[in-house]
Amino acid sequence: MFFSRMLSRKLSAVLVFIPLLVLAGCDDLNPSSADLRADVVPGSDGVQVEQKALDFTLSDTLYTDVTLSSEYPSADAVVLYFTMWCPICDSHMSYMRQYVVTNYPNVKFYFVDYVTGSVSASRQAQQSNGYTDFDVLVDTNHAIQELYNATMGTVIVMDSNGIIKMNEDFKDGSKLQTVLALLP
């Protein structure tokens, strides 16, 4: 009985204090619309929009090395999409296949797998998810994902000069379409 009475009194206090503690430390409770992007020097090396993309070489799932800078001369643009083979990634990749890729035959689209850790496992994931019609780059130790501050759903678009035109989440795909449509 004593235990029950003590708990009962404490409960009222908990009901009041837990929400207050929580409200004190959460950004999402009061979201901001301020544009806080940092200024960058156009053409400088980096991962922000208007910077020169940092170069890398990765193997694809067929064991062919792909070097980013080697792709620019033969394409209007290069698009990287970072996937971890999840429902959201699948939704994005499916949308790209259906509504984006066919409209831009001279743009190179790559999915970057940063979670499976090996070419063979990545190939398996590519096959089981039904994306063998796409080129998948295997970021074995997720170095490129870290280099570009990317995560699930990140899209990076580089023009034929290697200048980054987009580096953000795929969202609904409209930004990707807009960026590609503005390419010369």
Binding site: L11, V22, P31, W85, D90, N149, T151, N167, E168, K171
Partner: protein
């Protein structure tokens, strides 16, 4: 207040039926949310603690086809839910649930463990009945009258969302949006049988976004789609030798979230569906003020949603 055996039985049914558990979560999808908690009639206050052990086994894609996770992966989330309910008056009650979430995701080439608060849920419920409707025998039509509850729940974005200061998708423990749910719950017990039906409809509040996974981006407005949950359950109660009870409950639920909007335009990549089955065994003591629960929940079908299994262990204490 003198409580009759019927009052106590009704209390044990409500608690056993699973109205103190969590609904769903997925670290990559921004889970970690809790549902609501309902006090039994004549219960003054309640505390509830539960532990959810959720594991993922592939997902259903947008065509509702099940797709396996990458080889060598083990994706899990654990949630410790702290809940408290408080009766305001004879027909009104309020509650809050605060989850703490651990994400434990291992791929063959990637491993991460993170933790943080999930999204909290604050609720208020109105009981549209004054007396217990639990009966032992149906003698008239009036005996079939169910207990009716009307509820409003506010989900608060207290978890870690993609729009906060996070490094990657594995850190997420919440969705980042306010949501208001209106609920109707019907509950009927004809001892030893029980049935419940619940329908909830939730609306998210649009919010500005200026950061994704820690990177500041061009600001935009985002909203998630309306959410509906339909659940019904059937239960059976056995009495123990010491006049406690053991209740077995089977529940089926359908969850749907429509596509959301970005800057006022429909996001065709959003939306989800999930159907699941749950089986709960709940033990209550003679006074029905301590209830221990074990639930197994399995997602049976869906679209754009992980295939999950959840084992929940919980204990509730009611102050009559």
């Amino acid at each position: 207040m003198l409580l009759t055996k019927t009052h106590l039985l009704a209390a044990s049914f409500m608690l056993a039926a699973g109205y103190t558990g969590t609904v769903n979560a997925a670290s990559c999808c921004g889970g970690g949310s809790a549902s609501s908690l309902i006090l039994p009639k004549f219960g003054r206050q309640m505390i509830d603690v539960s532990l959810d052990l959720e594991s993922y086994d592939g997902f259903w894609n947008s065509d509702a086809v099940h797709v396996a996770d990458p080889p060598g992966s083990s994706l899990n989330q654990q949630r410790l839910n702290f809940g408290a309910g408080y009766r305001i008056s004879s027909n009104w009650q309020t509650s809050i649930i605060m989850p703490y979430v651990w994400n434990d995701n291992q791929y063959a080439g990637f491993s991460t463990k993170t933790n943080g608060l999930g999204d909290a849920v604050a609720s208020i419920w109105y009981e549209a009945f004054d007396a217990i409707t639990c009966v032992y025998k149906v003698n008239s039509i009036a005996d079939l009258k169910p207990s009716i509850y009307y509820g409003l729940s506010m989900t608060l974005p207290t978890g870690v969302s993609p729009y906060g200061d996070v490094q990657n998708s594995f850190d997420i423990t919440g969705r980042g949006f306010y949501r208001l749910d209106a609920s109707l719950l019907l509950d009927k017990t004809v001892f030893p049988w029980n049935a419940t039906l619940q329908y909830s409809y939730g609306v998210y509040s649009e919010r500005p976004v200026n950061r994704e996974y820690g990177n500041y981006i061009e600001p935009y407005d985002k909203n998630l789609g309306d959410r509906s949950l339909l659940m019904f359950s059937f239960g059976y109660t056995d009495q123990t030798e010491k006049l406690g009870t053991i209740t077995y409950t089977l529940a089926y639920s359908e969850l749907e979230e429509k596509t959301g909007e970005i800057d006022g335009q429909t996001d065709p990549t959003g939306g989800l569906e999930k159907q699941s089955l749950a089986f709960t065994v709940a033990m209550a003591n003679f006074d029905k003020d301590w209830i221990y629960k074990l639930t197994y929940n399995k997602a049976t079908d869906g679209t754009n949603f992980p295939a999950t299994e959840i084992v929940s262990l919980g204990v509730s204490h009611v102050f009559f």
